[in-house]
């Protein structure tokens, strides 16, 4: 991109800066936290400049360079950025920066901890920019490793079980996805000897994929992405991983990692296999509704505050799935909006859970009560996050929710079957129900005597800063959603005949 008359490869910077950060954090003797804040800050600054540029000039940008080329295979180091990637990039950069600040007082092996955070940023940035299937898969797997170590190294009492479960479960799903990628690449190669892994080559050949093939390939890829999102019934790794993960891990896991699944569905499944999407549409609608309702009900029953928030992510990612499943431009636009909105909101929720566990000593809702008296700022942030998550108008979650249900409503009108709208509406009530009930039992009411609150302290400066920034953004984009919408319009979903 041209900037101040100098050609700056912004996309490479977004990969290289966190990579240097990883090396820096793992090599320095002390103050690894400063290094992480600095390098994630640089990355964020680059991402912000980049997003402003896109916001004003509506461009999409590609970067291409050869990497592996033999007689039989062609793998390029291709990167590509459009509005959807850009939103995810900014979200990643923002969240990594904020969790670095949030966790800056981490005492246990800080070098490795911050190195892992930075390594995860490399992987996430790569996934959201890669434009070559092989590259995409590599970044996809890179993300798993630091997350695995974050959970098993800095997690709760059952961290080893949770970490290995997370790793095996999502890894198996990745393998299925990999098979899907292979069949697609083979099919695209056709009679030619050379397997071309670039997105552009597959997309160019995609017109010739017949419906049966598209349906089969869609199924393989969709399974891989569905586990990541996660959709019910492939979700059980998520609550375990969240309950055990450290706060920074949870924030990144729910905030940006889950979006890899929905990103993959939009970027790969829909763009390349539209007829497969049509064949799978009823199935996608059903699993989305199941995830929304199931997740919401599971929340009501949870006793651990963090596990409740984890299940709420399942419910809200179900909303993303529902929006995608409408296969309309409006639906997919709001799916992206919800991915972004949920990333901001869920970060607040997991930070709040982390503070609760750390400061009050437990996250068990039945043990809590009346925390607002001793921790008013914490209570205010918690309330703000919960209200944002239940879709309060004026905050960013509402816009996504409104648009998604409107898209779903239009879809139902188009198939002349209205009653399933009840499920989406019931979810709104259930969501309000579990959040308010949790607040009633944890921060309101009589001050608890089941745990010792004598020397409990409120949110500290670093935590307050991270939460404050997120809350301000949630309000800003809730009041002016067109800022985000403008970027979503820079997503060229040009699949004729399927998505309008």
């Amino acid at each position: 991109m041209e900037f101040f008359e100098i050609d700056i490869p912004f996309m490479l910077l977004l990969l290289v800066l966190p990579l240097i950060g990883t090396a820096f954090c793992s090599l320095v003797k002390r103050d690894a936290n400063q290094g992480a804040i600095m390098f994630s800050g640089f990355t964020l600054a680059v991402a912000l400049v980049y997003v402003c540029a896109m916001w004003t000039t509506d461009f999409t940008e590609s970067f291409s360079t050869g990497w592996i080329e033999t007689k039989y295979i062609l793998i390029n180091f291709d990167l590509y950025v459009d509005g959807m990637s850009m939103l995810m990039i900014v979200l990643t950069a923002l969240l990594v920066f904020l969790v670095s600040i949030f966790s800056s007082s981490e005492k246990h092996n800080p070098r490795m901890f911050f190195a892992m955070l930075m390594a995860m940023e490399v992987g996430l940035m790569g996934v959201y920019m890669a434009h070559d299937y092989f590259l995409f898969y590599i970044f996809w797997e890179i993300v798993l490793v630091p997350m695995y170590f974050l959970i098993s190294g800095w997690g709760g009492p059952r961290r080893h079980y949770a970490a290995i479960k997370f790793l095996i479960y999502t890894h198996v799903a990745s393998l299925v996805m990999l098979i899907g990628i292979f069949v697609m690449v083979f099919e695209a190669a056709g009679a030619s000897d050379q397997l071309n892994f670039t997105f552009s080559a597959v997309a160019a050949a995609a017109g010739g994929f017949d419906q049966l093939f598209q349906t089969a390939a869609f199924g393989l890829l969709f399974f891989g992405f569905a586990v990541k999102m996660p959709l019910v019934p492939f979700h059980t790794w998520l609550p375990d991983a969240h309950v055990e993960a450290p706060t920074a891990g949870s924030v990144l896991l729910a905030g940006v990692m889950l979006k890899m699944g929905s990103y993959g569905i939009i970027r790969i499944c829909l763009e390349v296999l539209p007829q497969g999407a049509v064949a799978w549409q009823p199935f996608m609608i059903v699993v989305a509704i199941v995830a929304i309702i199931y997740g919401a009900y599971a929340c009501i029953a949870q006793k651990d505050l963090k596990k409740m928030v984890a299940f709420s992510s399942i419910s809200h990612m179900g909303m993303v799935m529902l929006a995608i499943a409408t296969l309309s431009g409006m639906g997919i636009g709001f799916a992206i909006f919800q991915m972004f909105a949920h990333g901001l909101i869920t970060a607040v929720l997991f930070m709040v859970c982390g503070i609760c566990g750390h400061n009050a000593g437990t996250r068990e809702i039945p043990l809590l009560g009346g925390l607002a008296g001793k921790m008013p700022i914490f209570a205010a942030f918690m309330m703000f996050g919960f209200l944002a998550s239940l879709g309060l108008p004026g905050l960013v979650g509402f816009v996504a929710e409104f648009g998604i249900i409107m898209s779903f409503f239009e879809y139902l009108l188009s198939i002349d079957m209205i009653w399933p709208i009840i499920f989406a509406l019931a979810a709104l009530l259930l969501t309000a129900g579990y959040y308010l009930w949790a607040m009633q039992r944890s921060i309101f009411g009589k001050e608890t005597d089941r745990i010792d609150l004598s020397d409990v302290h409120d949110v500290n400066k670093a935590e307050g800063f991270s939460l404050g920034v997120l809350c301000a953004l949630i309000a800003l984009f809730g009041i002016m959603p067109s800022i985000v919408m403008k970027l979503i319009e820079v997503v060229p979903l040009v699949i004729s005949g399927v998505i309008v």
Binding site: Y148, L175, I300, G373, S482
Partner: protein
Amino acid sequence: MEFIQFTWLIPLIPLLAFVIVGLFGGKFKNGLGSVAILSAIAAFVLSAIVSYEYFTGDLFAAGLAYIPEPIEWIAFGTYTLNFGIYVDSLTCVMMLFSSFISMLIFVYSIGYMGGEGKRKRRYYAEIALFLAGMLGLIVSSNYLEMFIFWEIMGVCSYLLIGFWSFKHPDGDEASVKAASAAKKAFLVTRLGDVCFMTGLFVLLWAFGSLDFTAMFDDPVGSLVNGNGTTIMIGTLLLFGGVIGKSAQFPLQDWLPDAMAGPTTVSALIHAATMVKAGVYLVARSYPLFVQNAEMMLIVAVIGGVTAFIAASMALNNMNLKRVLAYSTISQLGYMIMALGAGGYMIATEMAHGAADIDGAVGYTAGVFHMMNHAFFKALLFMCAGSVIHAVGTEDMRRMGGLGKKMKITSWTMLIGCLSIAGFPFFSGFWSKDMIMEAVMEPAVAGAASVFLFLFVLALITAFMTAFYMFRLWFMTFAGKPKDEKLHCHGESPVSMTLPLVILSVFAALSGFLMFFWLNDIITFNVIGGAFVVGGHGHEGMDILHEILYNQWTYVSLALSLFGILLAYLMYAKKAIDPARLNAGGNTRIYRALTARYYFPQLYDEIALRLGYDVAKGVDYADRNLIDGTVNGISNAMMGSSGMLRKLHSGHVQDYVAYMAVGVLAVFFVFYILIMTGGF
């Protein structure tokens, strides 16, 4: 200079006050309450100037609304949602009384919340946001904008009802109750809000826009275009929102619990904001509602039933604030019933093809009563607050004889009681009789026998209202002190009594405005097939004539006076023992009234069955069925659980080794695939 173009500042000023108080209030001793109060004063003054300009301008004379070009909020698909301003007569009336009463309540708070210390910041910030929500709702130019402010108010009520939810002046139990009441208020109104939102989807789809201008311009035409059923469904869903927000049957039960908040908050919710928003929504959506007579019939019946059952629940309640809460529900029922009856007349006449319909009494009566009710209900709540402030209890059984110690409070409250009871020439008298007339109109015209039934309900309600209000007054202020231990601090400070005196003037006299000013402002007409709000009203003297020469006026008056007399005999003179009438509180109906017709149990039961029980089932299935399968598969793959346990050695090196093996395996598979595929 045209001030009307700055209408957008009216909700923005309190919103700014919210931000300022919220951010910096903690640094000041009084929590920056003065900023909140100043913002309310500024909002009121600006409302007054804007209203003056509008009423004296050309737009009002032409029966048009002031609608500047809206700002685009978000655009998607084929839809554009806007943010804009809409000023017509209804807007002006609403914003005048909302901001005026809020201003007085804010001033009153100086005294009432004086002992709250550090938490004043939170209080003043939240009431400022509350006012901003209400004023924003009033000046909104489309339904989505309205919905946003509607929900902001919902959250403010949640926060304020739960204001004492973690440290209640009455102790821990009360704080637990407050937390529960706040949740109930939010969830029950949320049920209505979900209906409202669904209505928005239907209307957005039907009209392609949610702007009032686009929707109200020619809905008569859209009806002809076969959109009638869709509009009916859409408006019915909107009305679902009203049922939640304005506490109508069957979602009325959150409002009595909402008394757990400070009394000033109750005054704010009941008089100036929140519950009035629902009635305002019906009045604002009149052009859509009157498309269908059945729709208006539903509205009227819901209103009538609500008015009746809420009034009956107030008959035997012993809690000062609860009685007032029931009376609010009942009076809101009156307003909704009046709007329904008036709309029914318009709908039937339109169905007969009338292009010109000269005013609807129901509309005028409903909005007029909303305004009067705002004055006397704010007065009543603030008087009750003054009493509670002085004696520290809400239980009327412990009060009595307070009239001598609290002269101003008792006299101003008497004015409020006379007004709500419909005593001649007090404000409540005029609007209540207009409501009676509005309900009688379709009944006499033979349009529906249902209205005759509603009229009877309304008459009985009038009697009950007079009875329970004076029961309240006599139990509190008359006679001798009943509880020796109860200490009365005497009259409240000036910041509290001054608003009482000002409001009592309005509660007594605001009814007369109808005869020379409001008669031309609160009207809804159909002129040449188009809907016109404001202007073209009846002559004020005609209205006076109609009320005074209507025999039903005297029937309802007699019933009210009888109610007052009965209350006097039972609670002041003690000539009739209440215990004899209800067999010491043991009759089935007495118990049903005390238990609020078992509505709280019904709500709890529904929440338990459809919420918690299902949730437990889902949780069980999740742990055992789904996760059990996952673990089962992994155990089977690993050969035995013993081996799995070995894998969980806890040594990081081991995991790294497994990882490395895994990654190698992936690359191996990859390699094979390429080779076989390549050849």
